[in-house]
């Protein structure tokens, strides 16, 4: 007999969080939660982390160094031009370009990271558990047990789930 996940549908943020708390207490794994808007408590219960912020810092570091190096190479080594007697390596004016293009690079690279990390790209089919999750319902998917799911179902019902189904 294969295990089936239990899907609990709530109409309220508080009830959902209450249910998540109870399920977590019992040591049952929460597979995924679907909400119409971001709920920060849910992130903690699901226990996932995003590395985009850390990645963005390193993208920025990498971009800033490469851009400065590029500016130095083109204006000092490759083809130096005398602009009104200014030094070839006009560092203060390079700062502005470096700043702006670093922001450009961080944006592009973070967007790609987001697309890959969140698995969102054009042509991607949405895996929808319940169509109301993007509208007005809070949906949680809990790992089922072998045999029957009575225990989990009972917890969800107690927490005030509007509907409970197996997936």
């Amino acid at each position: 007999m294969s295990t089936k996940s239990v899907v609990g549908i709530f109409e309220d943020e508080e009830k959902l969080i209450d249910a998540l708390h109870k399920v977590k207490e019992k040591g049952i794994a929460i597979e995924e939660v679907y909400t119409p808007y971001p709920v920060f408590e849910v992130f903690e219960y699901v226990g996932k982390k995003s590395r985009i912020r850390t990645a963005a810092f390193f993208y920025g570091l990498f971009a800033a160094i490469s851009i400065l190096a590029f500016l130095y190479y083109t204006s000092v080594i490759s083809w130096p031009i005398n602009y009104g007697g200014k030094p070839f390596n006009s560092f203060p004016s390079f700062i502005i370009i470096t700043l702006v293009l670093t922001i450009f690079s961080i944006t592009v690279l973070s967007l790609f990271s987001f697309s890959i990390g969140a698995k969102l790209f054009p042509g991607q089919k949405a895996k929808v558990v319940d169509y109301r999750a993007t509208d007005n319902m809070f949906v949680m998917v809990v790992e089922g047990k072998e045999g029957d799911n009575n225990e989990v179902t009972e917890i969800l019902r107690e927490a005030g789930a509007l509907e409970i189904k197996e997936n």
Binding site: Y34, P36, Y37, I52, W79, Y83, P122
Partner: protein
């Protein structure tokens, strides 16, 4: 923290989540109203005038413009700076108010960001055309080439401008689109129309509202918000250096970067107010764009108007205090009491004085007054750019080179065209994209309700 009992509710009426989606998606369903078609026709005509003017400019050359050796920058640069200024509101709204945790931004940021994207596109048309041979515009990108290799001049604010505006367009558009992903998914999941489901399904890119999605969404919004905040300030500072680094009376001033940034946010917020009033009135979205939203914008405008007035007075004072004949001539004999007195006073009255009417509660609460004042600010900001660009060039060091400048029909045509393109973009946005960020409004619903009951 937003205190509903003090500042008024963010969402009027007793709404639930479903009602919010229904209300906001409603303008996208059914047939668009008659005024929408009329406005679309006018916008298309204006845009066609622009296409004609751009064609003439490209086919014949910028000799078709009214520029001359003394006034080498005219309407194109005025309009470029004007549009870029308007384009500052979206990101200012989303980013600064996001950082400051201002919950009232949620109903407004989507429209403000849309406006930003269209305004920046309009702005970019002008410097591209001003290059003269627009088909060689790619020369501004530093790439290995067979001409040396000849690299671009990194000391030039014009190149900084190019880099800053490209980045700004990219980041504003990405931020805007990121915010729309959950809303496109909402439309996809609600609609029964198969074609609509398919189109919005592609646009939503597989969004399903899972924690997996939201967590990364929040992280990316944090990253983009953080770096865009830097960009909002730096883009218009860079635009100001187009002027400030040249030794021209009236331009060569250290006040320029902050003065330009504040001016940009001023005109942008004014345009946001214009647009929000239109949306509120025509689409009856008064429950989401409440009086407290508009009052908040009015208060910000009053404050920025004071800064603008201070900046104008500082410029005048410093010109006098410097003792430089040229500065004094430009400020006093060309602008305040000279041939360009009308433009100067139009700028001063529209930007520094008229918005002060918002001190009166009756005016701050009256939608028609707000609409009129926001239009005045937009006109005033156009005159500010006229003042800066034309007056300094028309009469600078050599009296023998003094001249006047008048735009030709082609220049006016390009400007009308950009207004058409902007309106076209806004109208299509009204029709095909949720005008208010559905998911963000849902996230503040609880906040308003909670403070009400306790």
């Amino acid at each position: 923290m937003y205190k509903t009992e003090v500042r008024g509710a963010l969402i009027d009426g007793d709404k639930d989540y479903k009602q919010i989606s229904t209300d906001i998606i409603k303008p996208m369903e059914g047939r668009p109203p008659l005024w929408w078609y009329i406005a679309l026709a006018i916008a298309l005509i204006a845009a066609s005038v622009g296409v004609w003017a751009i064609f003439v400019t490209v086919a014949v050359g910028i000799g078709t413009w009214g520029l001359n050796n003394s006034v080498a920058w005219g309407w194109e640069i005025i309009n470029f700076v004007w549009w870029i200024g308007i384009g500052h509101a979206g990101t200012a709204f989303s980013i600064f108010l996001l950082i400051l945790r201002q919950k009232w931004r949620t109903s407004i940021n989507r429209a403000a960001e849309a406006m930003t994207v269209f305004a920046v596109i309009c702005a970019a048309i002008f410097p591209a055309l001003h290059m003269g041979r627009v088909w060689l515009a790619f020369y501004i990108i530093p790439y290995p080439n067979t001409r040396g290799p000849l690299w671009v001049n990194y000391n030039s604010p014009l190149f900084w401008d190019f880099a800053a505006i490209s980045s700004y367009l990219l980041i504003s558009a990405s931020f805007w689109y990121l915010g729309m992903l959950p809303d496109f998914a909402t439309i996809r999941d609600r609609t029964t129309n198969k074609l609509k489901k398919a189109i919005y399904g592609i646009l939503a890119m597989g969004w399903n509202g899972s924690t997996h999605n939201w967590l990364r969404y929040e992280s990316l919004a944090f990253v983009l918000g953080g770096i865009a905040a830097v960009l909002v300030v730096s883009v218009h500072s860079i635009v100001s250096t187009d002027f400030a680094v040249s030794v021209e009376p009236g331009w060569h001033a250290t006040i320029f970067p902050p003065y330009f940034v504040v001016g940009a946010i001023f005109s942008g917020f004014a345009m946001v107010m214009t647009l929000m009033i239109i949306i509120r009135k025509l689409y009856k979205l008064g429950d989401y764009i409440t009086d407290s939203h508009l009052t908040a914008i009015a208060k910000i405008l009053t404050f920025i108007s004071l800064i603008m007035g201070t900046a104008y007075l500082t410029e005048i004072f410093v010109a006098w205090y410097s003792g430089s004949n040229y500065e004094i001539h430009t400020l006093f004999k060309t602008r305040i009491f000279g041939p360009y007195a009308f433009q100067f006073w139009a700028m001063f009255i529209c930007n520094a004085l008229i918005p002060q009417l918002f001190w009166f509660k009756r005016i701050r609460k009256n939608i028609w007054w707000m609409f009129t004042i926001s239009i005045f600010i937009n006109i005033g900001m156009w005159y500010e750019r006229f003042n800066i660009v034309v007056t300094s060039l028309a009469q600078d060091y050599l009296p023998s080179s003094w001249t006047t400048y008048n735009p030709t029909i082609v220049e006016i045509g390009v400007y009308v065209g950009t207004i058409g393109i902007f309106s076209l973009g806004v109208l299509l946005f009204f029709r095909y994209v949720p005008m208010i960020a559905i998911s963000e409004v849902k996230s503040v619903l609880k906040v308003t309700k909670k403070t009400k009951t306790h």
